[in-house]
Every structure is written in structure tokens, then in C-alpha cells.
């Protein structure tokens, strides 16, 4: 064993909590339908809590089928009477306005995102919120240029889009969905995830403030049943879903024969491939960002590390030392690197896989960090000496859990990387340009990063192969699912 470093230092960082004084949350949120908040016809509400304290943040309406129906009808009316008749450049102005208001209120959005979802403020402040604003800015620009995106065609809006989004990037996913839908001239009914509805409801406030015509964007909160009611509503022309592969499959079968267009952005089990000629220390940092970003609640997380055998021992040692320096705790602390697991349910699922990994014989390693008593927490974890037949290698864990396998040749790396039902993303680390092109053209995944990981840009399309989904979001490609070209 090589010499050991110790990161249990005399000098530590004092708590640096982000202030919550300027954050205004209602005690109770209704449904945002036809431009204003209304009581649910269902009469039901559910609680949304902070996963880091388990304290209630607000009560949120639980939309029943009647509520979904109201929302879809409002969206249809808005489409027929206003939105489809508006000049595209005017439509663009509204989206620009949303983008600007999100930017102006970015701090408030970041704090609420961290409170409701458990992600570190560093990420919600530096990634989620700026990217959400960037998506609105980007698609606002397309609104009056659709003819140029599809030369020789006559792109037309579809009508009402039903959109169901997950809990890992609540505001960002809302932006990914709403921005292209509006730019292409569709109206929207959006259902945020039940554990993280608050930033979508704050976005409803922004939409009202931007003076969007009533009914153009409707936001209905609820759990799976609400989502199913939306997906199966006959008044919907297009479904956009981001979430688990299991639910994605169900949606695809429900939609068969209905004529509704759909895009699905589902699970992943990305291979992050590190060659011996890579810039090793930057690769280590990339591996950390790939799997521990947002507690590993990332569909494109680099959850399978494939490392060339000649460097495996030293790379794993560096990974372990780097993990010792990760600060796990209060999401609102500006120094926190890894926040809270999003829900008790998700924590149970991750813990199931931690137990399974040990039973399967992989070597588990976790840093010595102390965890808060209240709330849902999981230490950053790696499983060394994992093998292709382990379920921890095959199945999506959606938590801060990395499996490590070695490979000898590029051929073997490709084979292992592609040997999965998923195909959302991947990473390649090498100093050789030719090797990057060789690997990226043979990896069957929608997004592949070279010498970096988890980088996003509104101009770049995103989506999966195989069970990771259908269709692309982002970029010019992201316009197509919301348009008819005939």
C-alpha cells in the first residue's frame, strides 16, 4: 500500500449557509390553470418536504382527472384563440421575458431548488438556474426562425403538449420542456414531480408576471396518477416525458395507436472510459463530477467507470482520496459538494443496491464524512472490482454510487460499454485525438463527452439510444418533436 494522505484537517470551513430571507413560499399552492392559481376540484393536497430536514415546506394541490381536464381545455382554448394566431416574433418576446425574469430571480429559484430537492446550492446556483434561463433565451430566438430550421418545409405547431418531468432537475427540466413547446407555437400542460413541485410553481408566478396569455402554460401538480391522466387525455397532441424507463415503457404502450407524438428521455448507465494515456488527474475530477453531481440523480451520470488496467490501482487511490474531500451535508451551505438524497423512497432504493453490491462481491468504499441526523443521506460510494454480470453494473441506481471495472484493449472497453440496455451518455478520456473519434463513433449512446463530463448547453441535442429513450431535446433537433412538417 502506498503512502496515505489525511484530509481530517485542523483547519476546516465554517458553515456558510445561503440566506433564505428573500424566499417567499405560500403555505399552500393550488393548480396554475388558465393564468391563475385555482383550488383543485379533487379537494386534495399533499405535502412537499425538504429532504435535508424532513420539514414541510408547503402543501400542494393533488390534481385529479377533472383538474387535468380543465387544464387541457384551457390550453386548447389558448391555442385556438390566441397562441396559434400570434405572430411568431411576438411569441418570442414572451419567452425572452420569461428568461429575463428567471435570471433576475435566480437566487430565489436556486434557494428553493435546494430546499425542495436537496441539491447543493453551488449546483442550483451555478448550473440548474442559469441553464434554465439559457434554455428560454435559446428557444426564444427560434420562435420566428422556424422556416430556416426546416428549409423547404412548412413547420406547424401540433396543439397542446402534455409534459411530465422528474425530480432531479425540477426547474431545468421544466425549461427544457416549456421553452421549445412555446417557441414552436404549442400550448402546455406541465406536471412536475411530486417531491419537487415548488420551482415549477414559482415558474408559474414568473409566467403570470410575464403576462403570458391565460392558458398558454398550465401547471398541474400531483403524483403518478395525475401524470397518467395527462398522458391519456384525448385532448393532448404531444407527450414529452422525462423519467424512469419503466414508466416510459408504460407511456409508450398507452400511446400506441393514439396518434399522439411523443419523446421519452429515460434512464441510463453510462460508461466513463479512462485510457492510460489520459490526463489522469483531470480524469479523476471528471469521474467525480460524472457520478457525484446532483447526488448521482442524473440520468446521464457516469455510473460505470471503465479504467485501463495499467493505471487502475493508482487511479482508484486518487479517487478515494478525492472522495475524502467531498463535503456532504446541508444543501444550502455554499461549501457543500454533495447534498441530500431526494426522497426516503429513493434512499431506500440506493441502500438496497449498496447491500446488493456487497453481496455480489464488489469492494465497497465510502469516505469517512459524518452525515446529518435528520434527512435522507448517502455517502459517496464506489464499488471496486465489479463485473459485467453484477446487477449494480447493469441496473440504474440513480444515486452516488460508482462501479469500477478494468479493461485491457479499446475493443474490450467498447464491448463492455455497449453491453447494456441503456444508451444515454458516455465519456472517453485520452490524450489522443484519433482515439476519441474512434471510441465516440462506436459507442452506442446519445451524448458522449471527451475529456469532460456532464456538460450541457441549450444548443446541443440530448437524448438516448435503446431503452434510454426516443427523440432529442435541445438544439435545433429539439424543435422537431413539437412540429408537424407537412
Amino acid at each position: 500500500m502506498a503512502s496515505k494522505l489525511t484530509f481530517d484537517t485542523d483547519w476546516t470551513y465554517a458553515p456558510a449557509p445561503e440566506g433564505t430571507a428573500n424566499v417567499k413560499l405560500e403555505k399552500r399552492y393550488g393548480l396554475f390553470i388558465n393564468g391563475r392559481f385555482t383550488e383543485p376540484k379533487s379537494g386534495k393536497y399533499f405535502r412537499t418536504i425538504s429532504p435535508s430536514t424532513e420539514k414541510k415546506l408547503a402543501d400542494v394541490a393533488d390534481a385529479g382527472p377533472d383538474d387535468v381536464d380543465r387544464a387541457v381545455k384551457a390550453a386548447r382554448r389558448a391555442y385556438d384563440t390566441v397562441w396559434s394566431k400570434m405572430k411568431p416574433s411576438e411569441r418570442g418576446k414572451y419567452i425572452f421575458r420569461i428568461a429575463r425574469i428567471v435570471q433576475e430571480r435566480s437566487r430565489e429559484f436556486a434557494v428553493i431548488e435546494s430546499m425542495d430537492g436537496g441539491k447543493p446550492i453551488r449546483e442550483s446556483r451555478d448550473v440548474d438556474v442559469p441553464l434554465a434561463a439559457a434554455h428560454f433565451f435559446y428557444y426564444a430566438g427560434w420562435a420566428d426562425k422556424l422556416d430556416y430550421a426546416f428549409p423547404g418545409k412548412s413547420p406547424r405547431a401540433l396543439g397542446v403538449a402534455g409534459q411530465v418531468i422528474p425530480w432531479n432537475f425540477p426547474l431545468l427540466m421544466a425549461a427544457w420542456k416549456i421553452a421549445p413547446a412555446l417557441a414552436t407555437g404549442n400550448t402546455v400542460v406541465l406536471k412536475p414531480a411530486e417531491t419537487t413541485p415548488l420551482t415549477a410553481l414559482k415558474l408559474a408566478e414568473v409566467i403570470a408576471e410575464a403576462d403570458l396569455p391565460p392558458g398558454v402554460v398550465n401547471i398541474v401538480t400531483g403524483a403518478g396518477e395525475t401524470g397518467a391522466a395527462l398522458v391519456n387525455h384525448p385532448g393532448i397532441n404531444k407527450i414529452a416525458f422525462t423519467g424512469s424507463t419503466a414508466v416510459g415503457k408504460k407511456i409508450q404502450s398507452d400511446l400506441a395507436g393514439t396518434g399522439k407524438k411523443f419523446t421519452l428521455e429515460l434512464g441510463g448507465k453510462a460508461a466513463n472510459i479512462v485510457f492510460e494515456d489520459a490526463p489522469i488527474d483531470q480524469a479523476v475530477e471528471g469521474i467525480i463530477n460524472a457520478i457525484f453531481f446532483n447526488q448521482g440523480h442524473v440520468c446521464c451520470a457516469g455510473s460505470r467507470l471503465l479504467v485501463q488496467e495499467s493505471i487502475a490501482t493508482s487511479l482508484v487511490q486518487k479517487l478515494k482520496d478525492r472522495m475524502e474531500t467531498l463535503i456532504v451535508g446541508d444543501p444550502l451551505d455554499k461549501n457543500t459538494d454533495v447534498g441530500a438524497i431526494n426522497s426516503r423512497m429513493q434512499l431506500k432504493k440506493i441502500e438496497y443496491y449498496l447491500k446488493l453490491g456487497r453481496e455480489e462481491g464488489a469492494d465497497m468504499y465510502q469516505p469517512a464524512c459524518t452525515l446529518p441526523e435528520k434527512g435522507f443521506w448517502c455517502r459517496p460510494t464506489l464499488f471496486d472490482h465489479a463485473s459485467q454480470s453484477h446487477r449494480i453494473v447493469q441496473e440504474e441506481i440513480f444515486g452516488p454510487v460508482l462501479t469500477i471495472q478494468t479493461f485491457r484493449t479499446a475493443e474490450e472497453a467498447i464491448e463492455k460499454a455497449n453491453n447494456t440496455p441503456f444508451g444515454l451518455s458516455g465519456g472517453v478520456w485520452t490524450d489522443k485525438g484519433a482515439k476519441i473519434f474512434e471510441m465516440t463513433s462506436r459507442l452506442r449512446a446519445g451524448v458522449i463527452w471527451a475529456n469532460t463530463f456532464n456538460k450541457f448547453d441549450p444548443g446541443s441535442p440530448f437524448g438516448g439510444y435503446k431503452e434510454s429513450g426516443l427523440g432529442r431535446e435541445g438544439g435545433m433537433h429539439g424543435l422537431l418533436p413539437y412540429l408537424s412538417l407537412n
Partner: protein
């Protein structure tokens, strides 16, 4: 470790460095929020790590004696202020500093080897080193032959460092890479590996006479090289960023980087130094501000 045991590793096999990745990680260090007690602790630690430096042609005995007094008494108006780690001067002024610092635990460091350019014969460099040590230097800050390094004459650079180390005797050797002349982070990494294998006790970024001097990315690459050398050999090597660090805030950025790269064992003046002349006063101003809640005028702090 004798000179005959030292082996130059293959420079081509030294790991590559990706600049984009380095800058991204450095950005993370800089956004660590350091507040209250944590800030004061860091600032005092930084003060204790300073090599208070004067390296001017116009330096005089009197100037050096004043600096030595400052080294022992940074700011007597504030309580619990540590003294700096060392005074860093030219070889001819080592004797003056030695006498002025008698009875203190502050080291005398001397630059040597035809500082700052290193453009002289090996014999002159060795003699320069021997002179500094004979005058009483506890530490020698040598420069590498950048021309030879950039030409790929690694063995020549390696031998020179090893011989200077031999001439140092008991004195600790800091090897200045002059990273501002090395051009790439790949070269910084290679030069670090080379210097450590040749026997360096410390590796140091810059002479302070070339721009850019110390930067966070360059220092980070050197810290990572130190870590890998420690993993492989178990020998600790110190780090000294020098030049361009004048602000208190920069000092805690460096300490954050040190803490998260090498950890506890390096968080002392035995293993980490700041080569700086203006840094001390800015840190003192910040400490006074933390105590009083308001900034004091620069005129309250001595300018030695």
C-alpha cells in the same frame, strides 16, 4: 539519499495535464466560502507560511535588518500574530539576516545559482550555493536551467539540481521551476517530477522576476505532482508559490487548494510557503478588520 541513488524518470511517461480540467477545478477552490473563525485561522496560518522576501539590486544591510525586525514583529498592535517562516535574500545579505534573526525560529533563505536567470556555469552555481550556505543560509532557493529543460536536456537539468543539493549540505533546497517560462502545464508537471527525483526538498513556482509568476493552475499541477511523488516514494516535498500573491483572499484560496489536494500533513510552514513581499500587510489588514469590523488605513501597517 546520496546523489548516486537518484534516478531521472522517463519524462515522456509523466502524466499529461488538461488545462481546461485544471482551470475548472481551480475555480471550485476559489468558490469555497471561507467565513469568520475559519477565515482568521487561515489568515494566521498564511502569515506563518510567508517567506518575507527582498531581492533587489539596491538591497542594503539596513533594509534587510528592517525586514528581519518585521519578520519577528509583523504587527505588534494585534495580539497572537505569528512570525513569518523565513526571510529570503541574496547570498551577500545572508550574514546580515542571520545576525538580525538570532534567537528567533525564523529561517534565512538565500537565492542562489545565478538567480534569477540561471545563466552561468555549473561551477559558478555550485560556488554560489556553497557561499550562501557558508554565510548561514538554512534554505537555498535555486533556479533550474530553463533553456536546457526546454531543449529536452533533462539529464543536464537533473544533474545540476542533484549537485546543488549536494552543495547544500544540511540546508533545505527549494527548486524554482520559473513556470512563467515553461509555456505549458505539461512542462510544469515534468519539471516538478524531475526536480523532486533530483532531490528537491521544496518545489517553487517562480523567481518573481518573470510574468506570470505563481498562478493557481500552475501551483495545482505542482501540488498534484507532489502528491503522486509521495504516493510512490513516501517522501514529502514542500511547495512554494512565489510572486503575484499579494491579497489575503488569494492566500486562503491557496490554502483551500492545499487542504483538498495534500491534506493535513502539508498544512504547516515546514511544507508550504508563500514567497511574497506585500502579502503580509494585506493579511494583517484583514485580521484587523475581522477584529474591529472596519478596515484600517494602510498607513497603520509598516511598509518594510
Amino acid at each position: 539519499m546520496t546523489t548516486s541513488e537518484l534516478i531521472l524518470p522517463a519524462m515522456a511517461s509523466v502524466t499529461r495535464v488538461d488545462t481546461v480540467g485544471v482551470e475548472e477545478r481551480v475555480g471550485r477552490f476559489q468558490t469555497r466560502s471561507i467565513k469568520r473563525d475559519s477565515k482568521v485561522t487561515a489568515l494566521k496560518l498564511a502569515l506563518s507560511m510567508i517567506d518575507l522576501t527582498t531581492l533587489e539590486g539596491r538591497d542594503t544591510d539596513g533594509k534587510v535588518r528592517q525586514l528581519c525586525y518585521k519578520a519577528r514583529h509583523l504587527h505588534d498592535a494585534l495580539p497572537d500574530i505569528p512570525h513569518v517562516a523565513a526571510i529570503c535574500v541574496y547570498p551577500t545579505l545572508v550574514g546580515v539576516a542571520r545576525r538580525a534573526l538570532e534567537g528567533s525560529r525564523i529561517n534565512v533563505a538565500s537565492v542562489a545559482t545565478a538567480f534569477p536567470s540561471g545563466q552561468s556555469s555549473k561551477k559558478v552555481k555550485i560556488d554560489d550555493t556553497r557561499f550562501a550556505v557558508s554565510e548561514g543560509a538554512d534554505e537555498v532557493d535555486m533556479v533550474i536551467s530553463r533553456g536546457a529543460f526546454l531543449e529536452g536536456e533533462y539529464a543536464a537539468v537533473f544533474d545540476e539540481i542533484a549537485e546543488v543539493k549536494g552543495a547544500c549540505g544540511e540546508a533545505r533546497l527549494k527548486v524554482i521551476l520559473e513556470t512563467g517560462e515553461l509555456g505549458t502545464l505539461d512542462n510544469v508537471r515534468r519539471a516538478s517530477v524531475l526536480a523532486m527525483h533530483a532531490g528537491a526538498d521544496f518545489i517553487k513556482t517562480s523567481t518573481g522576476k518573470v510574468e506570470p509568476a505563481a498562478t493557481m493552475p500552475v501551483s495545482f499541477v505542482m501540488l498534484q505532482a507532489i502528491r503522486d511523488y509521495f504516493y510512490a516514494t513516501g517522501r514529502m516535498v514542500g511547495m512554494k508559490p512565489a510572486g503575484g500573491i499579494a491579497r489575503a483572499k488569494q492566500s486562503w484560496h491557496y490554502l483551500v487548494m492545499l487542504r483538498e489536494t495534500l491534506g493535513q500533513a502539508w498544512m504547516t510552514s515546514d511544507w508550504f510557503r508563500f514567497g511574497a513581499s506585500r502579502l503580509a500587510n494585506d493579511i494583517l489588514m484583514q485580521i484587523a478588520k475581522e477584529r474591529d469590523g472596519v478596515y484600517q488605513s494602510i498607513d497603520y501597517f509598516s511598509m518594510d
